[in-house]
C-alpha cells in the first residue's frame, strides 16, 4: 500500500488519526510531519498515529489535506533512522522486587531470565500513561507476566516493568502496576534538557546488566 492510501479519520474536532498500522511507518510519518509542517501534537499509538491541529487556524478538511499531501510526498525516503540506545541496569533485589517470583513462576533461574532480556531487540513502541513512560516491544513470548493485582503507589524512576510481550520503563517516580524486575542506571529524564526524556518513539533499545556492582 502506498503511504497516500492510509485512511485518515477524525479524532474529535481538532485531531486526525492516520490508520497506518504498527511498525516503523508510524515513526517515519511522524518524522515527516514534524519536519515539514507545524502540528501542535504528533502522537504515535500502538497501531496508528494521531496529529492535533489548531482549529482556530484551519478547518479539519484543510488539515486532512495537509496530512495527505505529506503522505503523498512519500515517507519512505524520510531518512528516519532509529537511534540505538544501550541502557545499563541492575536486576533483582530492592531495585527489582518482582524478579525472583517471576523467575520461579516461569521455572527459570533469575540469570536466564536476565539473559533473555539482554538478548531481546527492543524498540520503543510509544510513550504514554505517565510522562516519559516508554512501552518497549520485542520481548520474547516465553516471558509471561501479568500486571500486579495491587498496583504500587510509588515506583522509582528508572524501574523496569515487565508484562507479557512488553517492557515498560518508568521515567519518573510514580504509581505503577507492572511487576518490577530491575532499574536502569541511566537517567531517563533530565530535567534541564530541552528534550528532557531520553527515549523517543522508534528508538531501538538494549538493556544490559550494569558492570558496576
Amino acid at each position: 500500500m502506498s503511504e497516500g492510501a492510509y485512511r485518515i479519520i477524525p479524532c474529535g474536532d481538532d485531531a486526525l488519526r492516520i490508520l497506518c498500522g504498527a511498525g516503523d511507518i508510524r515513526y517515519q510519518i511522524a518524522h515527516r510531519l514534524g519536519s515539514c509542517d507545524a502540528w501542535p501534537e504528533i502522537i504515535p499509538g500502538k497501531s496508528d498515529l494521531t496529529v492535533a491541529f489548531d482549529p482556530h487556524m484551519e478547518t479539519m478538511a484543510a488539515a486532512t489535506d495537509r496530512v495527505r499531501e505529506a503522505l503523498l510526498a512519500g515517507v519512505g525516503g524520510s531518512t528516519h533512522v532509529p537511534r540505538r540506545i544501550e541502557l545499563e541496569a541492575r536486576f533483582g533485589g530492592g531495585e527489582g522486587p518482582d524478579l525472583a517470583a517471576m523467575a520461579e513462576r516461569l521455572g527459570e533461574s533469575e540469570t536466564r531470565l536476565i539473559e533473555a532480556i539482554e538478548a531481546s531487540r527492543l524498540q520503543v513502541d510509544m510513550l504514554g500513561f505517565t510522562p516519559g513512560f516508554a512501552y518497549l516491544a520485542g520481548l520474547g513470548p516465553a516471558l509471561i507476566s501479568e500486571r500486579l493485582r495491587h498496583p504500587r503507589a510509588r515506583v522509582a524512576a528508572g524501574s523496569i516493568g515487565l508484562i507479557t510481550g512488553q517492557i515498560g520503563l518508568y521515567a519518573l517516580d510514580g504509581p505503577g502496576g507492572w511487576p518490577i524486575i530491575g532499574r536502569v542506571t541511566t537517567s531517563l529524564f533530565n530535567r534541564l534538557d530541552a528534550d528532557p526524556f531520553l527515549l523517543r518513539p522508534g528508538d531501538e533499545v538494549v538493556i544490559l546488566r550494569s558492570a558496576a556492582v
Binding site: 474529535g12 474536532d13 502522537i43 494521531t50
Partner: protein, 308 residues
C-alpha cells in the same frame, strides 16, 4: 507582598498555561480545568489570560494577604467574604494589608479561580508553570498548597476596578449539556446518547471524571491497541463505565474512545462535580467549527489574547 494559605481546601494548585506539544512523551496538557474562568479572573486584575492563578477545588478555603493588593474570583458558585463582608465574584476586589479572604463551599461547580494583581511565583517546567501533581512538577514545588504556605507576590495595585460582562459569566449549575462529536470508536448505527442523562460519580480528579449511565456496548468488549486520547475524550470500559478525561488525564489509552467533547465546550468539564447530571449533544464537524468560532468571537471581545 505575600499571600498566606490558612486553609487550601480539598485541593488548591497553581495553574497557568497548558503544557502543550509533549503528548508523544506522555506529558498531559495540565493547566486550568476551566480555562475560561481562569482567563476571566486574570482579566480583572490586568494579567495575561494564562498568568499563574490559584485553582481551588470546592472550598471552603481561606487566605490572608499581607499587604495591599487586588484580586479577582471566578468559577464555581460560592460565597466570598473579606473581613466578614461578602464580596462578589467577577469583579476586581481591592484588599488592604492583613485582609483575610474566606471562601465558602461551592454550591454549584467545582473549581474557583483566584487571580492576584501581582506576579504569583510558579516553577516553569516543560514550557508551563502549571502544577502536575502525579509527577510533582510545576506550580508551587510541584505540589498542592498546604496550610501555612507563604507565596511571595510582586505587589501591584491601583488597577481600575472591573466587572466581567454578564454575557461572559459561566453558567454554573448542577446540569450540563456538552456538545460532542463521534470518537474514533463510535459504534456505527448508534443513535443513543442524545436524550440519555448521565451522572458524574464521586470518582473525580484533575485527571478525569467517572460518568455513570447507559453507554452503547461494544461487540468486542476488550481493549484495543493504545492510541492517543485528549482532554474531552470519553472512554468506555468493558464494564460499560464512562471516563471523561480532564487536563491531567493520560495521553494514550486502550479503552473505547466513544466521543470527544468539542473544543468549544471543554472548559465546562472543569466545573463538573459529583452528582451533576450530564447530557452529550452530538454534533457534526461543521457544527463544532461554528460553535468554536461563535464562542471565540464572544470571548475575544473582552479577552483579545484568549484562545479556547
Amino acid at each position: 507582598m505575600s499571600l498566606r494559605v490558612l486553609d487550601p481546601g480539598i485541593q488548591c494548585t497553581v495553574q497557568a498555561a497548558a503544557r502543550d506539544g509533549l503528548r508523544h512523551a506522555g506529558v498531559p496538557a495540565c493547566g486550568p480545568a476551566d480555562p475560561v474562568s481562569m482567563a476571566l479572573a486574570n482579566r480583572l486584575v490586568g494579567k495575561p489570560v494564562a498568568a499563574p492563578c490559584l485553582e481551588i477545588t470546592f472550598g471552603p478555603a481561606c487566605f490572608r494577604f499581607e499587604s495591599r493588593t487586588q484580586i479577582a474570583l471566578t468559577g464555581a458558585r460560592a460565597t466570598a467574604r473579606v473581613g466578614g463582608v461578602e464580596r462578589p465574584f467577577h469583579t476586581t476586589i481591592s484588599l488592604k494589608a492583613g485582609d483575610m479572604l474566606e471562601l465558602g463551599p461551592a454550591s454549584a461547580g467545582a473549581r474557583i479561580y483566584l487571580a492576584v494583581s501581582g506576579d504569583l511565583p510558579a516553577d516553569p517546567f516543560l514550557g508551563s508553570a502549571s502544577t502536575y501533581l502525579p509527577a510533582g512538577f510545576g506550580g508551587h514545588e510541584g505540589r498542592a498548597l498546604r496550610k501555612g504556605d507563604h507565596l511571595r507576590i510582586a505587589g501591584i495595585d491601583g488597577l481600575p476596578e472591573l466587572e466581567t460582562p454578564h454575557a461572559l459569566r459561566l453558567p454554573v449549575s448542577a446540569s450540563y449539556a456538552l456538545r460532542a462529536v463521534e470518537g474514533p470508536d463510535w459504534p456505527p448505527g448508534t443513535h443513543r446518547l442524545t436524550n440519555a442523562v448521565y451522572r458524574v460519580t464521586p470518582r473525580l480528579s484533575r485527571m478525569g471524571a467517572e460518568i455513570d449511565g447507559d453507554f452503547p456496548s461494544f461487540p468486542d468488549a476488550g481493549l484495543k491497541p493504545s492510541a492517543a486520547v485528549f482532554p474531552g475524550t470519553l472512554q468506555v470500559t468493558p464494564q460499560g463505565r464512562g471516563f471523561l478525561l480532564l487536563p491531567d488525564g493520560q495521553t494514550t489509552g486502550g479503552y473505547r474512545h466513544l466521543l470527544q467533547v468539542i473544543r468549544a465546550d471543554r472548559h465546562l468539564m472543569g466545573q463538573l462535580r459529583p452528582g451533576d447530571s450530564l447530557r452529550f449533544l452530538m454534533c457534526t464537524q461543521d457544527q463544532a467549527e461554528a460553535a468554536l468560532r461563535a464562542k471565540q468571537v464572544l470571548l475575544e471581545t473582552w479577552m483579545p489574547d484568549f484562545r479556547l
